[in-house]
């Protein structure tokens, strides 16, 4: 059996921009969380989650050295900081959307407290 938790129970996040590309770094609280995220945060899942904001492809890279994922989203910022119509011109808040994504964990899974 499994249950669903939000990524905010598992990781910290931070995002930035280059042109119309948004990147979200997901920093897992520990190795166990990292494994959950590594398996379940897929490009298609991210694309579905951000469907109103991200119009291009999504790539995900692994950074096992710091238990982190790098999510790179194309055509993601309404044209990029210089020309976008969005408030979040540089996509600094794009990462916060990731905190609301659900992943599945085993029933007995007890989320650790955030390290800070």
């Amino acid at each position: 059996m499994s249950k669903k938790v939000l990524i905010k129970e598992l990781a910290y996040v931070r995002s930035g921009d280059k042109g119309d590309i948004s990147n979200v770094g997901i920093m897992a609280f520990n190795k166990e969380n990292y494994e959950v995220l590594r398996k379940q945060v897929t490009p298609q899942k991210v694309k579905d989650h951000y469907k109103e904001l991200v119009k291009g492809e999504v790539k995900i890279y692994e950074m096992p050295n710091i238990d982190s994922l790098q999510v790179v989203m194309y055509k993601a910022l309404g044209g990029g900081a210089t020309s976008t119509l969005r408030f979040d011109e540089t996509g600094k808040a794009m990462c916060l959307g990731m905190l609301f994504m659900q992943v599945e964990v085993p029933d007995g899974f007890k989320p650790v407290r955030p390290p800070m």
Partner: protein
């Protein structure tokens, strides 16, 4: 083992002169490096220079040198900045003037040249180079080339190193890469060259530069652990003590606020890096999947096991050109039934647009319900209407000219059936579009000129 201490004097503009000063006074540093440029900055600066040929650099930053230069000079701290923008020579002249006013004799200020490639586009097109847009894949740069504002290559640290070798006390660059500001003093001090044996260590230098280049972004700004950042009004800028073996310890002055730990450093390691195995910079390709992050406590974090590969044969270029106009209007709507009313206003707006002969699918418009979904859209759940006190309904539209953009936006200012507070629409503003592309490295020779105050 030889060690050098490098501080970050800024990470973006505007920056805090006081924090740069604190680093100079308390950081026991050898170099202070200032990154002042975002992707848009060069285009804005070029507009400033069009109005006044003696401008085009970061004026606030250079003004800050009135305080920083005398303190840095007294302690033998060298200054490296890309705050020269599109006119580093004028910035250097201002710095020399500050030196003269402070009776600093013999100061050597180097100006880095070569990043501006705007005048060479035609020549390279004739040679057969295509300035393919890296984001859209478009091949035809000719459609924008007659009205470009700027075209600058992100140059590396070659000429900064050469200037340091020639004894520069201050180096003023334009569009060098952010990390080059830090890579240059590291390579200069340790005698590293752009040769096979050094690529792993240059990868380390790029990684260290990346952790410092946004300044307070690694000491508590824009941090996922923001609630735990002490004295957030006094967040200090960081420094790195870099060892010749290619490791570093990140530190910060102890007198102010801020936080430097495992999580603030990881936040910066993931920040604006795409493929982390191949973080491509003009000086080399860093592998961020190798670095080991060790929290030493007391706002000290060790970076080790960093590596990298040979530098690329091409450099990134950003071309800025006029994009069009953006118009924006705001309607403020109060409870009761704020959401229902806001939706009604939007609906009327679409009908007004149709009356003006514009089709919904043809207009470039964004509608935000501020307080509900203006940042994350439906990723965040919509609250019950009873819980909503007020909504800001904001309409932003792009058009080819101010009239077109304005007409779309004001279509949504129709208060008759609902009743709400409107602000006077602001004048449509022009915006700049960017065309990111590549250029062969050998087509971008860089150099420096040394200016000296006798």
């Amino acid at each position: 083992m030889k060690k050098i201490r490098i501080g970050a004097g800024s990470g973006y503009a505007p920056s805090k002169t006081g924090e740069a000063l604190r680093l100079v006074r308390e950081g026991n540093i050898n170099y202070i490096c200032f990154d002042q440029l975002a992707e848009l900055t060069m285009s804005i600066l070029s507009k400033n220079q069009q109005k006044d040929p003696t401008k085009g650099y970061l004026t606030g930053h250079i003004e800050g040198m009135k305080q920083i230069l005398p303190e840095a000079h007294k302690r033998g701290v060298k200054i490296i900045t890309n705050g020269g923008g599109v006119n580093p020579e004028a910035a250097a002249d201002q710095i020399l003037k500050i030196a003269a006013d402070n009776n600093i004799k013999g100061l050597k200020v180097a100006v880095i040249k070569g990043d501006n490639i705007a005048g060479r586009i035609d020549e390279l097109l004739e040679k057969g180079w295509k300035f393919t847009n890296l984001e859209t894949g478009e091949d035809d740069v000719s459609k924008i080339k007659d009205n470009i504002l700027i075209a600058n290559a992100y140059i590396g640290s070659d000429s900064i190193i050469a200037a340091l070798e020639a004894g520069a006390d201050v180096v003023v660059a334009g569009r060098c890469s952010d990390s080059a500001l830090f890579v240059a003093p590291i390579m200069h001090e340790f005698g590293w060259k752009f040769e096979d044996v050094y690529w792993p260590r240059i990868g380390a230098a790029i990684t260290i530069g990346h952790t410092l280049e946004c300044a307070d972004f690694v000491t508590g700004v824009a941090s996922p652990v923001w609630e735990h950042v002490p004295k957030p009004d006094e967040i200090v800028y960081p420094l790195a003590e870099v060892s010749e073996d290619g490791t570093a310890i990140l530190e910060m002055p102890s007198s102010g606020g801020g936080l430097l730990n495992e999580w603030t450093v990881k936040s910066q390691l993931v920040y604006e890096v795409h493929d982390p195995k191949n973080y491509i910079m003009p000086d080399g390709v860093a592998d961020m999947t190798a670095v080991k992050v060790e929290d030493l406590g007391n706002n000290r974090v060790k970076l080790s096991n960093m590596t990298g590969k040979r530098r690329p044969d091409t450099l990134k270029v950003i071309i800025g050109y006029p994009g069009g106009f953006i118009a924006e209007v705001m309607n403020y709507i109060s409870a009761p039934k704020a959401l229902t009313k806001a939706r009604r206003v939007e609906e009327i707006g679409w009908k007004n647009l149709a009356k003006y002969g514009m089709k919904r699918e043809d207009v470039d418009v964004q509608i935000d319900y501020i307080g509900i979904n203006s940042i994350l859209k439906s990723i965040v759940p919509t609250p019950d209407e009873d819980e909503i006190n007020e909504i800001g309904l904001r309409i932003a539209a792009r058009g080819k000219n101010p009239l077109e953009a304005g007409l779309i936006a004001v279509s949504f200012l129709d208060m008759s059936p609902v009743g709400f507070t409107v602000s006077v629409p602001s004048k449509p503003r022009s915006y700049i579009s960017l065309w990111p592309t590549l250029i062969p490295r050998e087509e971008v020779p860089t150099s420096f000129i040394m200016k000296r105050l006798e």
